[in-house]
Symmetry: C2
Subunit: 149 residues, 2 copies
DNA sequence: ATTCTTGCAAATCATTTGCACTTTA
DNA sequence: TAAAGTGCAAATGATTTGCAAGAAT
C-alpha cells in the first residue's frame, strides 16, 4: 500500500524525522510517479501546506537522495527530476509531447544485461538509461514524418 | 584524419559557415574527446581567440547540435557536456575521481541490444546510457570500501 | 545594402547558501 | 535549552535573450 502511514514509517526507518513538510513531500513522490521537478513538487505540496518553502523542498529532496529513498533522474539537462521508485528502471521521453514513461523490464530481466565496452576492472554501481523517441499517441506518431527535415 | 581542414569541410557539408570562431570550437571538440562543458570550451578556445565570447560558444554549440554534428550529453545534472563523436557509445563516470570514460561497444555489438520494457509501438530515436561506479585507479578502488557507510 | 555573425550586458531559471526564527526532543 | 528543522532573502552558476556593432556576400 501507499498510505501516508507507510510513507511516515519509511522515513522513520531510514532515520529521517517525519516532519509535516517532509512527510508531504515524500508522500507526494510516492503517490505521483510523474518524475516531478522540485518546482512541481513545491507547487503541488504547497496546496496543502501554504507555508512551505522551496528551500525546504530542496533540503528534503537532498536528504532523501542521500538516504537512498528517492532517486535523482536526468531526463534533459538543466533540471533534475525525482523518483521515489527505487527499483531498476529506465525512462523514455517522447520528443513530440514531452511525456516521460517508465521502462520496467519484465520480471527477472535486468535493465541492461551487461554494459558493452565496460572493462572488467570497472566497478558498476548504477545505470541511468534514458531513451528518446515517439510515443504511440496519434499526434506523436504523426510528428515522426515532420521531424525528417 | 582530424585536421582543421577536415573540420572546416564538415561544417561546409552541413551548411554551417565556417567562421574562425565556429571552426575553432568545432575543431576543439573533434580533437578533445573530453566531454567538455561550454565553459571549458570557452576557456580553451579563448587562448587562440582572445576576443571569443561565451555567447558565441553557446550559439555555436546549439547550431552544431541542431545540425547533428555534435551531441549533448548529460552526465550529471546542472551542466551539459558536448561530444563531437556521433557514434553510438555510453559513458561511465567514476564516483571517486570524477573522470568520465567513453564506453564503446565492440564492433557489431549495439550499445543496448534491446530496451527491456519498451512496448513495440514506441519509436526509438536515441539512447543515452550513463553508468556510475569506480574506475580501476588505485585511489578509486580504495574508495569503494569507504563508500559503504 | 542586406543578411549573417559576433559579443556585450542584462535577464532568466534552477539550485544553494547564510542566517534568523520556530519547533521539537 | 540545545539540537533539529524551516523559510526568507540574497548569492551562485549555467544558459538565454535583446540588441548594437562588425564582417561577409
Amino acid at each position: 500500500m501507499t498510505t501516508r502511514e507507510d510513507s511516515i514509517a519509511i522515513l522513520r526507518k531510514i532515520g529521517v524525522t517525519p516532519s509535516p513538510q517532509r512527510t508531504a513531500i515524500y508522500h507526494f513522490l510516492r503517490t505521483h510517479a510523474i518524475h516531478p521537478t522540485a518546482e512541481t513538487i513545491f507547487a503541488a505540496v504547497r496546496l496543502e501546506q501554504p507555508s512551505l518553502s522551496l528551500t525546504t523542498v530542496y533540503n528534503t529532496l537532498k536528504l532523501l537522495v542521500e538516504k537512498r529513498a528517492v532517486r535523482e533522474i536526468i531526463i534533459e539537462g538543466s533540471e533534475l527530476r525525482y523518483d521515489a521508485d527505487m527499483t531498476e528502471h529506465g525512462h523514455f521521453k517522447c520528443l513530440h509531447c514531452g511525456d516521460v514513461y517508465d521502462l520496467f523490464p519484465p520480471d527477472g530481466v535486468p535493465l541492461v544485461p551487461s554494459v558493452p565496452g565496460l572493462p572488467d576492472d570497472f566497478v558498476l554501481k548504477e545505470i541511468q538509461l534514458c531513451c528518446r523517441g515517439y510515443c504511440p499517441k496519434d499526434a506523436c506518431r504523426a510528428a515522426i514524418c515532420a521531424a525528417r527535415n
